[in-house]
């Protein structure tokens, strides 16, 4: 088994996809670092070199003023209200949620890339894992070996798991390493609040507790990895079902982007919450943001994703072992 996985890993490395992905990340991170840096600078210019409390208070008052305007969408009002109470809570506990530093950048970067960027990168690796063997014809060679089919597929799946871990790790390392040049490498012990529960447009704070930033980041990366695994599994299934890599990519791309769009407009269509792509934003539950659809929670989203993932896994294995190869 180990040799099979090793073989698959070798194939993956030969394709140089992992390097491409690392390159993409290494190119994007400086871009975002610069954007973030500009924002901080801009804020400093506007507000003077002020205490973060003053800045945060100013933001709170601005939000309050927006809320008091009557021409504001209900959706947006809910979002603002929740953010407002959260900021207030941070202020009361004397915690600056945005103290600049490489760990903070990492956190913000990963929170923003969990629903689209990272799944896309995963897709690039996984999409042709099986389909390329079918379209290239190498699948016949692979299956003539005296190894059970499910073991071959499992070795591919394990190789996928390893490379996803690798991608997530390189996101962590690169975003920390590169942004640290600008923001400094400190800030791992900064306290952050988690455990907010959103109910309607109220923010419940009874379970809120403080965790150091390193734990917070580790938790978020765990969730990111989970999301990537689910997206990976679904792509894997499509890769088994379809021969054309382009079709796999197209379907995954369409559903991921549809998810990003849907999340902004499904609030009144309740059953949309059973789609896997509206549930990708798991980190929002840790940081306490408003959910796209009422009644979603971390447990709910993780279960929905798990169901999709398991279904994808089963379909992939059943089809692969039963299919006629010719």
């Amino acid at each position: 088994m180990i040799n099979l996985v090793r073989n698959e890993m070798l194939k993956l490395l030969r394709k140089k996809r992992l390097y491409v992905i690392i390159l993409i990340i290494a190119f994007l991170v400086p871009l975002f670092t610069y954007a973030q840096f500009k924002e901080i600078q801009d804020q400093r210019e506007k507000m003077g070199n002020q205490d973060w409390r003053t800045t945060l208070q100013q933001e709170i008052t601005d939000t309050q003023n927006r809320l008091s305007s009557s021409r504001i969408q209900d959706e947006w009002r809910k979002f603002l209200k929740i953010r407002l109470s959260q900021q207030q809570y941070y202020l009361e506990n004397d915690i600056d949620p945005r103290a600049p530093g490489a760990p903070t950048f990492m956190r913000i970067f990963v929170e923003n890339s969990i629903d689209l960027l990272l799944p896309l990168l995963v897709m690039v690796i996984v999409a042709d894992l099986v389909s390329s063997e079918s379209s290239g014809g190498t699948i016949k060679l692979l299956l003539t070996r005296p190894v059970k089919r499910w073991r071959i597929l499992l070795s591919k799946y394990l190789a996928m798991l390893l490379s996803i871990s690798f991608i997530v790790l390189s996101v962590a390392v690169l975003s920390y390493g590169i942004s640290g040049v600008v923001f400094g490498y400190g800030g791992w012990n900064m306290p952050l609040l988690t455990g907010f529960t959103v109910s309607g447009d109220e923010l419940l704070t009874e379970n809120v507790h403080i965790v150091p930033q390193w734990q917070y980041i580790l938790m978020e990366f765990g969730l990111v990895w989970y999301v990537c695994m689910i997206v990976g599994t679904l792509t894997f299934m499509l890769s088994v079902l379809l021969r054309s890599t382009a079709a796999v990519m197209g379907i995954m791309l369409a559903s991921l982007i549809a998810g990003a769009i849907l999340a902004n407009m499904v609030s009144s269509w309740e059953s949309a919450k059973y789609f896997f792509m509206v549930n990708l934003n798991l980190t929002n539950y840790v940081s306490g943001m408003a959910t796209p659809i009422e009644g979603m929670s971390l447990g709910f989203s993780m279960s929905v994703l798990a169901v999709w993932g398991i279904a994808g896994f089963i379909i992939a294995f059943v089809t692969f072992s039963k299919r006629d190869i010719y």
Binding site: T54, T61, D94, V208, I210
Partner: protein
């Protein structure tokens, strides 16, 4: 050689990946444990709180603005409001850096302001201030321009009593937080002074202003700044299209008046 390198890379990547998998699984497990177990409390994180600087910064003049939409600047094309123009004016007069903290909220009533003043951050900013400017009462009296259609004396008197007792508490609170800064409470004008009922409305506003000024007089260093006269004639030229908030010109008038008072204060200090 190349093959050896390949093999080496493969081993490294595999080992790193396995380690990463363990790490992420651990993170995921921790999330579950952390998010689904209850009854944790925000632990004693308060220790560090007192490092907060409540000292006044030397060399900068901190203006702390609070109140309602007038202080916020509703109706001004540039969104600055009188606080913005006030800062501009003062900048011309002094070399000091001016730091404006505006915590005004549109539609704020005296009750809301009193509540806002209980927030620790607002209190901290109030302590830092060298000058405090505020507007309050407009929403108590007019309720967004609607209430004055009902000119019933009793109803207005009732509102006035509530307002006055709130304002007294606000003054007391501000004085407790910051005994030194001069407080400029910008008074009300009558936005309806070109309407048919202007005689009645004006007398209500005048009385309101008088009572407020009387309350202010009970405290040290609280200046009730009149604006009634500024808007008395030609009110239509100084109002925004909502016929309630001042426009840019109106805000400039208010700013000028407050600015002249602040300047006087500083000259006296210097001599």
């Amino acid at each position: 050689m190349k093959a050896v390198l390949k093999k080496y890379t493969l081993t490294v990547v595999s080992i790193v990946s396995i380690a990463a998998t363990v790490l992420w699984l651990f993170g995921l497990g921790w999330t579950l444990q952390d998010q689904f177990s209850t009854n944790k409390k925000v632990s004693q994180f308060k220790e560090k709180t007192d490092s907060t600087s409540t000292e006044k910064q030397d060399g900068t003049l901190t203006i702390f603005a609070l109140g309602d939409s007038l202080t916020r600047g509703t109706g001004d094309a540039d969104g600055k409001g009188y606080t913005g123009y006030l800062t501009e004016r003062l900048k011309e007069k002094t070399d000091q850096d001016i730091n404006l903290l505006n915590t005004a909220i549109k539609g704020e009533t005296s009750r809301g302001l009193l509540k806002q003043l209980q927030q620790s951050e607002i209190q901290r900013q109030a302590k830092q201030a060298d000058v405090i400017v505020m507007t309050i009462g407009g929403n108590d009296l007019f309720q967004q321009g609607a209430a004055l259609e009902n000119l019933d004396n009793n109803a207005i008197n009732g509102k006035k009593q509530i307002y006055l007792s709130n304002v007294k508490k606000i003054y007391t609170q501000l004085r407790e937080l910051n005994p030194d800064a001069v407080i400029y409470h910008v008074g009300l004008y009558n936005p309806f002074s070109n309407m048919p009922d202007s005689k009645t409305t004006s007398s209500i506003v005048r009385d309101w202003n008088f009572q407020s000024a009387e309350t202010a007089a009970g405290f040290n260093n609280i200046v009730y700044v009149p604006t009634f006269d500024l808007f008395q004639l030609q009110v239509e030229n100084y109002l925004y299209t909502d016929q309630f908030h001042p426009n840019t010109e109106g805000y400039k008038l208010i700013a000028e008046r407050v600015a002249s008072l602040i300047k006087f204060e500083q000259e006296e200090n210097e001599s």
